[in-house]
Amino acid sequence: MTIFNKYLMTLVLAASMVNIFLAFFKQNSLEIYFVVNILSYLIITLLYVYINPRARAALNAISAILFGGFMVIVIIKVLEIIY
């Protein structure tokens, strides 16, 4: 199995596990699903250090966008707590 296939398989498995786990515990907040999915994505992407530089650059761009989404949710939640 090539490194790209392994990486995609890991992402699919992690996303499935996260969603099944949260659904099992009757989690009903879309923000929680989104944040946990982004965290698992970022961790797995960081673990695949040997992916070639061109793919790494493209994945970094996607990670940056997802991290932006994650930060937006965190800021909204913090503002909700403060005000």
């Binding site: 995609l8 992402l11 969603n19 989690q27 999915n37 992916i51 650059a57 493209a58 996607i62």
Partner: protein, 255 residues
């Protein structure tokens, strides 16, 4: 026009692109339907995950070369056959010595001694950047200098690896697993002036041919070139074995 058509054909043949668009489309339809019609948050999350994975697959597709594996194989075979013909015609039976870039005017290469069992401890200092080179003081210390798959890959490393086993292992894993996708993993040990490497899930089989006996298989060549560059010393492939999906490479560090 023909080239544009061929490039477009190759792009559509890229399985990661097709997979990515499939995931994105499925997620983009599934997420709003689940949220607004079914009113199910877990199903909406599955749709969003599909979009994330789809975008990742498209990103991976863009990093794959436009050349097909078949055309790469043709070019590799051409180079190997020309090199084999040269080695066989000259009757070279000795194993190649991999030199670091500091000994070959900034370009990592291998030298094949013209005389078998030549005095290998003589390989020191800078060797001129020519095809036929002298590596020692004796008249028979002559060799031909060639580029190998390993020496080409040294230029692909982001930085020069350090002289420890872990740094050589990291560099070899980066090239073999990350860049070339030739193996699943690499383990490297340094002991008694030898570099012992174990390659798991190798996708290149060792063949008992003259070219491999002289320069080593592409896998061994890459590990030897990286070891030579990391240790800044000439090295030679001593042994290469393949058993149960694992390749074992023993590299001798000279001088």
């Amino acid at each position: 026009m023909l080239l544009i058509f061929q490039e477009e054909k190759l792009r559509t043949r890229n399985p990661y692109r097709a997979l990515g668009f499939g995931f994105c489309l499925a997620g983009a339809i599934f997420a709003p339907v689940s949220y607004f019609i079914v009113s199910s948050v877990p199903l909406t999350a599955i749709g969003l995950s599909a979009i994330m994975i789809g975008l990742t697959a498209i990103a991976l597709a863009s990093s794959r070369p436009a050349l097909s594996p078949e055309s790469c194989e043709v070019m590799l075979r051409t180079g190997m056959e020309n090199m084999s013909a040269l080695i066989e015609e000259l009757g070279l039976r000795s194993k190649a010595i991999y030199l670091p870039s500091s000994m070959r005017e900034g370009k990592a290469q291998a030298v094949i001694p013209l005389v078998d069992n030549g005095n290998l401890t003589q390989v020191k200092g800078k060797i001129p950047g020519r095809l036929i080179v002298r590596y020692g003081s004796n008249p028979e210390d002559m060799a031909i200098a060639v580029s190998t798959p390993g020496s080409i890959n040294i230029g692909m490393l982001e930085s020069r690896p350090g002289p420890t086993a872990s740094e050589i292992e990291a560099a070899a894993s980066y090239v073999l697993s990350g860049l070339l996708d030739l193996a699943d993993s690499v383990t490297v040990n340094l002991s008694n002036g030898r570099v012992n490497a174990e390659v798991n899930g190798s996708r290149i089989r060792y063949e008992d041919i003259w070219f491999y006996r002289c320069l080593g298989s592409p896998l061994a060549s890459i590990i030897a070139a990286i070891s030579s560059e990391a240790l800044e010393k000439p090295v030679r492939i001593l042994e290469e074995k393949q058993e149960r999906g694992k390749s074992r490479v023993v590299i001798e560090v000279l001088s």
